[in-house]
Homo-oligomer: 187 residues x 2
DNA sequence: ATGGGCATGTAACGAGTTACATGATTTT
DNA sequence: AAAATCATGTAACTCGTTACATGCCCAT
């Protein structure tokens, strides 16, 4: 088995990683957890999670068992195999550092700011600030749930990283609004 | 024409936006310019740019003309149509603020830090710092080229935003290394 | 003469989304 | 009674990448 493991997309490692915390998880649970990573890693669609799980099982990186539940729809619980754990560790340790992918549509729209007027851009940045504050609020909830849980020490570290990132975004958006106001007045 | 314009991917607006600076551009030039946006907006593959241009022309948002060159391969130069300019302005002003997509594979690997040991993670963060410094260097070159060019005032603003972002990433990675060193020693 | 930059494009594939379908349970 | 949550999955599609193919110019 897996003599020549195909190159897996990062989404696969997200799934392997979540299973590495030890709990047996359903596709549904993996999906919900993956959404909490959206602060630093865009989470895939629900259907993507299920198809990735199928592939990972075919590759022998995860194993599953069906659970018949009383008065609830059937569940399939997944866990990491030895191969899966080894492959995850290999990826975390040895994979080369890829540049971070950012798709910042607000920055992009500001880049094309000449097609409109500063007040419109200020409004855009104000909406962005509101969005960012919402994200910070959601992040705080996730952070609270991890407090003093030693198994989530690294998760907490990354959450803190995200927190700083969103705070910096907030500060920068506010500074840009100030700048745009200065342009707005003179002519 | 375009009574019902399909929903366009952001990549389309990147192309329309670059053409909105006024110059007639070839696919090749658009691609090269788009790469300078990678600091805040991941640039698409070369083949993607060409196929997007074809679609935009079919939709009447851009117009092209072939240029026969002496002793050089033929060139096709694109420019924005009125429709294209209007659609771009509509997008910049009216499109709703989508959450920023981030795919931070280093943060993700740190999140799964429990599968390895702190020294490995420190090494990972050091590589990340080196990568980030490279990005800052490349950004500085782009920034220099825009200095005192009034048509690129907004571009310069966004470049500054990116600069702050990478500086914050640098600071955070350094802080995380300190933290990991503290974990490393005691047990 | 070898490699890099200019210039365009196609074919095949994989990643990822949207929408749909089903059905039970729990909460409002 | 309606809406949200739990739970899984398929089908159709688009986005985007990789690899390939071509050919000329320019610098070393």
């Amino acid at each position: 088995m897996n003599e020549k493991l195909p190159v897996l997309p990062t989404t696969s490692y997200v799934i392997l990683g979540l299973l590495s915390f030890g709990a047996e998880l359903s596709g549904y649970e993996i999906r919900k957890w993956a959404q909490n990573l959206r602060f630093f890693y865009w989470s895939p669609a629900q259907s993507q999670v299920y198809s990735e799980l199928q592939r990972l099982e075919e590759l022998g990186l995860v194993r599953s068992r069906a659970v018949q539940q009383v008065e609830k729809p059937d569940k399939r619980l997944y866990q990491l195999t030895e191969h899966g754990g080894a492959e995850l560790a290999r990826w975390v340790c040895d994979a080369k550092v890829e540049p971070t992918i950012v798709k910042h549509s607000v920055a992009l729209r500001l880049y094309f700011g000449h097609v409109t007027k500063p007040p419109v851009l200020i409004e855009l940045l104000e909406k962005f600030i509101a969005e960012t504050q919402t994200m910070l609020g959601q992040l705080a909830i996730v952070q609270e749930a991890m407090e003093n849980e030693p198994q989530f020490a690294y998760s907490a570290l990354v959450a803190e990283w995200s927190h700083h990132y969103y705070m910096a975004e907030l500060a920068m958006a506010q500074r840009l609004i100030e700048r745009l106001r200065q342009i707005e007045v003179p002519p």
